[in-house]
Symmetry: C2
Subunit: 317 residues, 2 copies
């Protein structure tokens, strides 16, 4: 990795209140849960956590409500080595929050989400950030009109720089929302989810890659994670590469699994790994994630990400 080894993740930070229950509750009952925890959530916030765990210099850029949850969220970013100096604290609004019910019986995750009035990151906010230190900027697929402008600002920044100092951009097309398609042509690396593919009527990874590649700019990398079927990817007119999934002995917590795959793949690509190796690394790290509860046990499993990239088999799934 170059000295400019920082990776910036742009998107949402919210609070997940996660209740582990033995069985999903029947309506109108009381139960005591096995465990309840606060977990920092939001795709970009999760991406930066995983990058921090892997040993990258990760930073988060997004809005954060100046509410009771703020201290927890900022302390939790710091715990995973994520820089939040650029985050925009918004007064007088509520923190987006999800109640997440994880059932031990079925490994299901049921989410009740709320986002009352937290403003999205503006183009003006983004324009104030000094982009020089970043090697890579990853955008969560939301706030589409603004994010499109932000990616254009990065492209402007790249103009006139030697190729080695370019900032790579990536974008995640996750949710089943038509407006996200507008982001596909803009980024150097495009992550397309199974949910978005299903929404578009694409029936498998190969079709998804073909269709998205046709929309992406020439030479862009398109990555398509597909849950238990692993992931596929291609770059420009190059051949499609594949990785199987690496499921753990027992799946206990799938919250943030997709964010983990994306972050680990970005980490590998940013370190110069080949595309096939990078998505395999993404699948391995995501497989490790779903075998443990929350993020903390990932520390022991991952150790130094750089080391793992060199000696991938050492990942203790």
């Amino acid at each position: 990795m170059s000295p400019r080894e920082n990776i910036l993740c742009v998107g949402l930070c919210c609070l997940d209140i996660v209740s582990q229950v033995s069985h999903f509750p029947k309506e109108d009952t009381d139960q005591r849960c096995l465990e309840q925890r606060w977990q920092r959530g939001g795709n970009a916030a999760n991406n930066s956590t995983v990058l921090g765990l892997l040993g990258a210099k990760a930073a988060f850029l997004g809005t954060i409500a100046d509410s009771h949850e703020k201290r927890f969220l900022l302390e939790d970013f710091a715990k995973y080595g994520v820089n939040t100096e650029q985050a925009v604290v918004c007064k007088g609004c509520e923190c987006p929050s999800s109640c997440v019910i994880l059932s031990r019986a079925t490994a299901s995750r049921t989410i009740i989400h709320s986002n009352k009035n937290l403003p999205e990151l503006s183009v003006e906010d983004f324009a104030q950030v000094d982009l020089t230190p970043y090697q890579w900027i990853h955008f969560e697929g939301r706030n589409v009109a603004n994010v499109a402008q932000m990616i254009k600002l990065v492209r402007e920044h790249n103009k006139g720089l030697p190729r080695g100092e370019f900032i790579t951009t990536s974008v995640e097309i996750e949710k089943a929302k038509p407006e996200l398609e507008a982001l596909i042509p803009l980024a150097d690396v495009v992550f397309v989810s199974k949910d978005f593919a299903a929404f578009k009527g694409y029936s498998n990874k190969a079709e998804t890659l073909e269709r998205v590649k046709a929309l992406a700019h020439p030479g862009a990398v398109v990555v398509c994670p597909w849950g238990e079927e692993g992931a596929s990817a291609c770059q420009g007119s190059g051949v499609m590469v594949h990785s199987p999934a690496f499921p753990p002995a027992s799946v206990v917590d799938t919250l943030g699994a997709g964010d983990t795959f994306n972050a680990a793949t970005i980490f590998a690509l940013a370190h110069g790994s080949a595309l096939e190796d990078s998505i395999r690394f993404g699948c391995r790290v995501a497989g490790a994630k779903v075998g443990v509860i929350g993020w903390e046990p990932m520390r022991g499993l991952l150790g130094s990400g750089t080391l793992l990239l060199k000696n991938e088999a050492s990942l203790a799934t």
Copy 2:
């Protein structure tokens, strides 16, 4: 009410994270809720809120975790005029918390509760409190061995005082737990829930009052709220008195309804109202509560509790 008009509520304070949903969620789905809010919960905490709303000098005594939720909880007590100077802040533990799902379709409330490691209030904590300012001390039915000792300390305090300076004790027997029965003989006023009655196999209010009266000390007041059937009560060998329920046009939020009934009944009794009038006041205020979301709209409905007691019909249900 005498100059010693303070009412102390002893028990739990926790955080309720309340999600209003259109329909109770299907397992393994994502949904956005209609509204999500933090609400201070715990029976004694709710009792003190209602007493504060009614215009009493209410105080809360219990343990509070020194966690991220603490500031919200203490600010929220203050918002309802509840004194928390006696509360015991416990370092290094987690705040008990409930995820509550309120369905608009069915008016159901589904609760997932967690209490990892908050210590219960100790007899030593209670012994350090100057009891002189209190006219009434209400105990939530939990932490039974300690609460039994606490009530005995109040009885000790009363010894040698003129009758007019006695502190009245009340206890709530709510949950279906056998150990709670030990508290029945100790208090001057005993609230027995429908749940506890069902657990004991008592089939109606009259049987419940008879059976509990036999366990209570001579002359004690026994109060039995029974949801949509209103409430009944008796004192010593006196006749049983009744009140109907006062349901609102539309039931929207039953969280804390029982706590509201108990607090309003205590408020009326502490003001010297007759037993029948007091439980009717309890039913009226509880009926108003279930017609509104949370506590805040109760301010407008209640105005001054003292005024309402004098002119009960003015309660704008």
